[in-house]
Symmetry: C5
Subunit: 375 residues, 5 copies
């Protein structure tokens, strides 16, 4: 019975969303009273310096460099080749400002890149498309789910991507870029933006798979005897599904908007069908989250009903014992009274008669409970 | 009381959906980091080789063959006759790729045919219409419901259908194709696509019928005494209805889209009214699933209330017994005390007086509970 | 406590929907694998022969006949007078086919007339409008609600109505047709179709009135002592409201469609306002069903809370009794011990002192519970 | 514990909606089988004769009369002045018919004026606008909420209003009409219709204020000890909010329709902004009703949880008492056995040793429960 | 156990919304029967006189004054410079009327400024835009959330803002206005209106942060032993979230309307993108409120389940004790009977044999409960 005293928080092993809720509100609250257009970063102040990665490629060749200063990027701008600049680390405001000047970004875009508690959104600034999405990555060691903000600036011939910290999310994309035979090498910046978005959505399925395993484990556990441990796990699962839905839901309209609307920087014929394909996956993610939530709610109800069953069983045991022994003890009590004149006591068969009566009551009670199917 | 220890999973007799949830997520997660457009099959690797069935027919005659290689199909292409090619088994990537080249399919179409965890969808590629639906088949032996993905490519003069494994779903269609008098023989490939879709939707009703029987059985069981067994059955039913809804819901917009929009390969006058007819059936399926779900939720609530009733009954028995016998035992205890000076003990009528008092208390208690309608 | 063993099904007195659920699914499942366009009737095979009733009227005169064969109807077709042909009984396929040929109906229409498990719907075939609705009739003897399908074919100058079996639903319409002064005699076939639809919607109010009485009876019953019987009644009510909603909901769009769209056979100026009037009633029916459902859910919650109250009361009685008598019995037990050296036993006032202590404990306990307002 | 036997219905003091549910259904059911267009009144047959009040005014002067016959109204028709005719009492069909002839009303309008169980609605008949709303008035004596139907006919230069019985609702409007300086005197019939509608919506706020007081009282009552009485009050509140929503909800689209659409009889520039103002109030009423409902649901849940707490407390008392005294009584019972050879009994310190053991057990148990924070 | 008697209301420490519900209804109800267009203030009658603050600025200079009379404002009207007039305190009707005359406001606007229980809304009067929003401010001392109404009149070259009482909300805006380098100084009145609205929305995040802390505290508290105190906190949180949602929800359409529609006074190119930026924040606030609500509901369910666990634990203790000691006490009772002839009593090993039997029963029971995992 000790286990039941554990706090629900303690049991958060196996994959808790790393307080995305906390982050967003604290970050947003920190902007109160600040002038809009003032640049400042709302994430934690990291000590590592930002990592700038540059790709410049066409079908024939690829240039893959890690830059020390943003200025090194300038020679690659404006040519025929596709330019992808990925910046991991947002705490150097100077760097972001410089990128804003270099690529001619609107002040609101820079502000949004730095506020990491934003709702996913898409904004068309004519010469470029600005997209904010959430990446969810599973920390292989702790099993925790980390939520980060990814900002994409999709222009004619270039893609900028901004993340708070480096992560393995884009590794498969990079591998493909290094390989001359792949699709992404044959096509333009808009296709690259599709590939990056696709890798984000794909990563959601990894998270969903983990959720699925936890649901199955819970399902297995929902037996009459050990279900108690399932309660905090269900609570955590439900809460994380709520948070996940909040992250994923806005993506639906964003991707739909790219797949259906006409944006200057997205090729209508070539690239838009691919975004429509992502859209189907996003809908699948959302529907799966909703389905999981319904299933967890059903599990909770079942848990409650099973607890009810257990309570019924306990009460039955108590009632049977009390109902059988209380009358028997009473009879014993009667013949334990010290009255001077109690004729039964003197009878030589009194004792056996009473034992017989007690036996009959015992058997009668047992039969009565059997009849009512109490055990 | 032993039964209550059984896990809910064990009780899954009588028609469980064969983990469609598991399949979809594991499959999708497997594609993470893969280049879009790379072909690979996400279902299990089957050892049986794929079965290719060819139908080439017009009103006058029908050619019905099982092909060894896809090349055998070539002579039947492009003529006046309708061509239906059904491929059961998706693990031979070469075969699917060959079909893609032969019928000039978009790479995304081939990719979608192979990913068996997709959300049902429709896509218009101009020269053909690509439709993904879920088939639900009841295994006659195990009573389990198996979910498979069916991909349809509807072109001018031909229909391609891809399934993971052979099943009896299309047998009635085949029978009708072999019969020269039937409607399907008189009409084109678009009508054949309607007949195939219709047979899928029809099969849902078989599943619903099974659900209905289970609901009725539960309804019967919801009595005060045996309701305990109903709990896992309700849980399972609710979960399966959630999964079923997820499979069927997207069909609504797909079929509506065929019935209302203008697609090149669907004859507006002749065939579209038939698809509108399917639409009504899909809506009926969805509404029935929702209705069943509401009913199961109502059942669960009632179950809980009945459990409450049972608990009340048990507590009443316990309380009546304790309330009657505790005061009586106390009185017996008093006169079992060993004080040297207790005047009642010496009275010749003391014993009888106490028995009388006890009897009065007993009768009084019983009357009291009767008045309050406790039994 | 015997009552609680009754099954919920047994208690279905006073107006159960006659398994409309069963019917629809079994009927639909029966069509699996059948060629679309093949005519067969999905309702039970009745032995009574179908009843064909013909009305041919204008403002001046009315012809009211029961036909033996459909052929007798031919002389009345195509004239200036309005023709209403009502067929009760769908099991003679020949008859329905003959009507199809005679009035030039689409094969899908004939099919839909015969499938009695359809969802209510409207279809425009240009020369006629095909409407399927559900009629709900209260059997005056058993108090049960029977659901039947009514198919209406509304053409220029004629209305065909098909029902599974005869019923009193149209009697008031017939009475009005026989009366030369009524509106329906002055107007055309489209107005007759309005009158028929209106009588269907009106009949829903009769059903709702019965539901209302049941809700009020339950409301009355929701007292602390007799609420137990309310449980199965609430369950049944909720289930029937779910089924009713499923029958009525689609009518909303059907009637709205007639009231708002332009159909060839419905006079825009004269008859459409009347259908808009029906629409208001349909919405009222749907909102009332939803309201009743909310009320029943509220009742259920209240029932559960009352059961909780009862349990609290029972537990209080038990706890008071145990708390009062257990310490007292313990004291008596102590002085019932047989130790040779127990000084209290020898005191002449020991017995009275112990009785006094016991009395004080008794009074103290009672006061304690009074303070905490336990009784 | 007696209180708990009271029926919920009995406790309906302090403002019950006067069975609006009953009225609507009985009224509508009464029309079954009646020819549409037949005039008959569905409310109760009142004995008081209808009260006809006439206002004819312009900015300069006002004529305020109570008419004996409708004919007296004729001289005021068709002039430049605004005519308002208010009829309280609908049971004289002749009177309504006469008004219909005099103001050239459609038969469906007359029918709807008489059916007092209608859903609020708006209908445009070109020359006039027909609006049906529900008025809710608080009876100052009984505190009950009475629902009545108000029908408004808004024409060019005149407004007709029909109510079932007189009430104080329009008194403030009348006062303003009698005052030459007010806005309503300067403007036309459409503005008068706005003023009348506004007074209806305003009256809803009075009802909401009463609901608010009841919610606050319940909030106050939700303490651990007296919450029991809150249950029927919450049930009643929830039910009345459901009914209120049903009355108010349709108003949203009606008022929106006047404020946004172009109707012949409503001045676009002058009067429509005022209706848009009412719209905001209607939305506020609806949102408040929804909010109250959510709060009451939250209260119910909290009530249940508090009841749970109470039960826990009761069970703890019982368990502590039983756990402490059962072992003690057992020990006393052991030494009350009459075995001839029980060495402890003969020891001179046996009694004190046993008392010591009992004391230790008692203290140990108490400490144990303290540790587990049971009290 | 004393704590449980505390009323939920008493526990409202740490941030209760200051009865916004009460205010709105009482205020609105107070307008019943009043002529629309009659000016009167619905908030409490404050004794402090209103504070009028004037800002007149362009990029070069700023005039910042506290006015004694509204007339002092006149010299600043109509020029090239932006004029911001902020009035804190609405009880001087004369003042509001004078402002209405001076800036040519519609009577409905004046009425709405004074009615402080309004629903947030936007109205376009052509020459100016009228916006009503709710400000939520956290009182730093009491921790309570105060809701006030803020009315904005946005004209060409001027902004009027009306509040019930002074507050620190606009302090950051004022600071920026005093600083010549800021954006707001470079731009027009429409940008100022954006800055004011933005500061309102920003302040919501401060409230949300407080909610978040409370949710986290609750999460921490949801342990088995101390969860009891969490109940009133959850109830209060849920209620406040319901109220918050009611305040924030209408803002969504208001801000969206400014960001998407064309209003005369808002510059399409320059200022509208900023309003679209606010829109994203509003949506984030709303989604966060919904998410918090879902989490609190999940907490409540978990609380109930934990209470259930506690009850199970208590019942187990009771049942184990009773089941162990009742049979033992019975045996002791049997050998405490005073029958003259009971052979066991005379046996020298009787006592030890009985003690042995009792020990076996004790150990058997304990093992039995261990097997069933009761402890």
């Amino acid at each position: 019975m000790k286990k039941s005293k554990k706090s629900i928080r303690e049991i958060r092993s196996g994959g808790a969303v790393k307080r995305p809720m906390k982050k967003s509100m604290k970050d947003m609250a920190g902007t109160v009273g600040k002038a809009p257009g003032t640049l400042f970063h709302t994430g934690g102040q990291k000590t590592v310096s930002p990592v700038i990665t540059l790709f410049s490629y066409d079908a024939a060749s690829v240039e893959h460099r890690t830059l020390k200063t943003l200025e090194e990027c300038r020679p690659f701008m404006g040519g025929e080749r596709v330019l992808w600049l990925n910046i991991d680390g947002l705490h150097k405001l100077k760097l972001i400002e410089a990128a804003g000047v270099m690529f001619n970004l609107h002040p609101l875009t820079l502000e949004d890149i730095l506020h990491t508690g934003l709702r996913p959104k898409i904004e068309d600034f004519g010469s470029y498309l600005f997209v904010v999405v959430k990446t969810l990555e599973l920390d292989p060691e702790s099993g925790e789910v980390g939520e980060e903000q990814l900002s994409l600036v999709i222009g004619k011939g270039f893609v900028l991507s901004f993340r708070e910290k480096p992560g393995p999310l884009f590794n498969p994309v990079i591998a493909r870029l290094d390989n001359p035979g792949t699709n992404v090498r044959q096509r333009g910046a808009d296709y690259l933006s599709y590939v990056l978005t696709d890798s984000v959505v794909d990563s959601y399925f990894t998270i969903l798979e983990q959720f699925e395993s936890r649901i199955e484990a819970l399902d297995e556990e929902l037996t009459d005897s050990v279900a108690r441990d399932a309660l905090p796990a269900m609570y955590l699962l439900k809460k994380e599904l709520i948070m996940l839905r909040k992250s994923v839901w806005p993506l639906r309209e964003i991707i739909n908007s790219i797949g259906r609307s006409r944006y200057q920087v997205i090729d209508d014929e070539e690239t838009r069908p691919f975004f429509r394909d992502i859209y189907d996956n996003i809908v699948l993610v959302i529907e799966t989250v909703e389905t999981y939530r319904d299933i967890v709610i059903g599990m909770y109800d079942t848990w409650l009903a099973l607890a009810n069953n257990r309570m019924n069983d306990i009460m039955k045991v108590l009632t049977i014992i009390a109902t059988v022994f209380m009358p028997l003890s009473f009879i014993a009590g009667v013949y334990g009274m010290n009255f001077h004149y109690m004729p039964e006591l003197e009878s030589p068969f009194g004792y056996y008669a009473v034992l017989g009566v007690m036996g009959s009551i015992f058997v009668g009670m047992i039969l009565f409970f059997r009849t009512r199917k109490w055990f």
